[in-house]
Amino acid sequence: MLEISNLACSRGDHRLFSELSFSLDFGQIMQVQGANGSGKTSLLRTLCGFIMPDEGDIIWRGENIRDLDEEYYAEMMYLGHLNAIKDELSALENLRVSAGLSGVELDEKEAIVALRRMGLRGREQLPTKVLSQGQRRRVALARLLVSDAKLWVLDEPLTALDVGAVALIQELIEEHLRQQGMVIFTTHQPLQVAGVEMRSLSLS
């Protein structure tokens, strides 16, 4: 379970949010809402440990993530604005490397299955620089399929995706929640998730 208590965060002199508290249980999903610049990305990056909060604690399974460090990272996965894929590598190589970095050793067959499910059939061996923006996003999102992380932190996962891909992401999230995973995400597009209550957090 993820518990946030009294979190405060600022960028430069500007206080983005303060006294933010919430908790997220297994099988739950939360959408972070707010206008541009309200601190959605900063909140998610704080959850990743990239940004040190000014005040407050982030508690994962009863322990502060600062103390857990690698144990926490083994159970979480972050997908940011940047795709973290290399232009020179093929979709297949990219997926295998990024899975390896997140601690999962993937053989070629498993990687191909994941890429095909993401609708990249026939593009597995192409260098990603020849792929379109949406296809590159799909390569990045394929990591969701091969990860065994409990907590997904997704920052605008739907940008550049077409209707089919959005439906696929919804399906993946539903599957993940059914397996007692948890999701915290931001988006400006509508995202329907069946079967669970969508919690929301407004930053202003």
Binding site: F50, V97, G103, E105
Partner: protein
């Protein structure tokens, strides 16, 4: 699906960086060509006086190696930083120092090792004796990894800064002076018939120190740069 071990992760990073370097061959070649050019300019500029060339050979080769290793440092983390891979590396369930060590090793193989292999050919331009060449190569083999490792600290600290390249050289070059002194000192010692053991053991000691401390320091610097 299997879990990646620490060693597996290290090898993964090294392999990935080597594959990337092979697909961007121009970057690797610029470092090497710069090294060859700088070294070759000296005999042309100073003139063909053998005694003088022999005397300055080690210094010229070492300084050129130092400068050309600076060239590629800027790219060590910047590409990964810009495309978000560095974020993912920080979220890896293994220590960031290990990943950094992998990147340092790959960087040395791509930008340090070619210099070491090229050095004997260039040394001939300076009429270096076989013995002196041997010592030069061993010195470079011990010294260039240190340059990559110290350089990585600078690269991590200047990550995302505009005009970071010049600042990087200003930060890193002074720290590399001991390597330069012991590396050239060894060649001078063998040329004047003295023992080289002390110089080599000092270089070796520096290498061990760098191996132990620089990955951790670089990892901390990266965390600061990411905020």
């Amino acid at each position: 699906m299997k879990k990646t071990s620490m060693l597996g992760l290290l090898l993964l990073v090294i392999r990935r960086d080597l594959v990337l370097a092979m697909r961007r061959r121009a970057d690797v070649l610029t470092t090497l060509i710069f090294f060859v050019m700088v070294v070759s300019l000296f005999p042309l500029g100073v003139g063909p006086e053998m005694a003088m060339l022999r005397k300055m050979a080690a210094g010229v080769l070492w300084v050129a190696a130092l400068l050309s290793s600076m060239l590629s440092l800027g790219r060590l983390f910047s590409a990964d930083y810009l495309d978000g891979t560095l974020e993912q590396m920080m979220l890896a369930p293994q220590s960031l120092s290990m990943l950094v060590l992998g990147k340092m090793a790959a960087h040395w193989m791509v930008s340090g090792l070619p210099l070491v292999l090229m050095a004997p050919v260039l040394g001939l331009q300076f009429d270096m004796s076989v013995q002196a060449l041997g010592v030069l190569i061993i010195g470079l083999l011990l010294g260039t990894p240190i340059l990559s490792m110290i350089g990585a600290i600078g690269a991590a600290l200047t990550l995302g800064l505009r005009g970071g390249g010049v600042l990087l050289s200003l930060l890193v070059l002074p720290l590399c002076i001991p390597v330069l002194i012991f590396g050239t000192g060894a060649v001078e010692a063998i040329s004047s018939g003295l023992d080289i053991a002390s110089h080599m053991s000092l270089l070796g000691a520096l290498l061990v120190l760098a191996l132990v401390f620089t990955p951790w320091v670089t990892a901390q610097a990266l965390r600061i740069s990411m905020e």
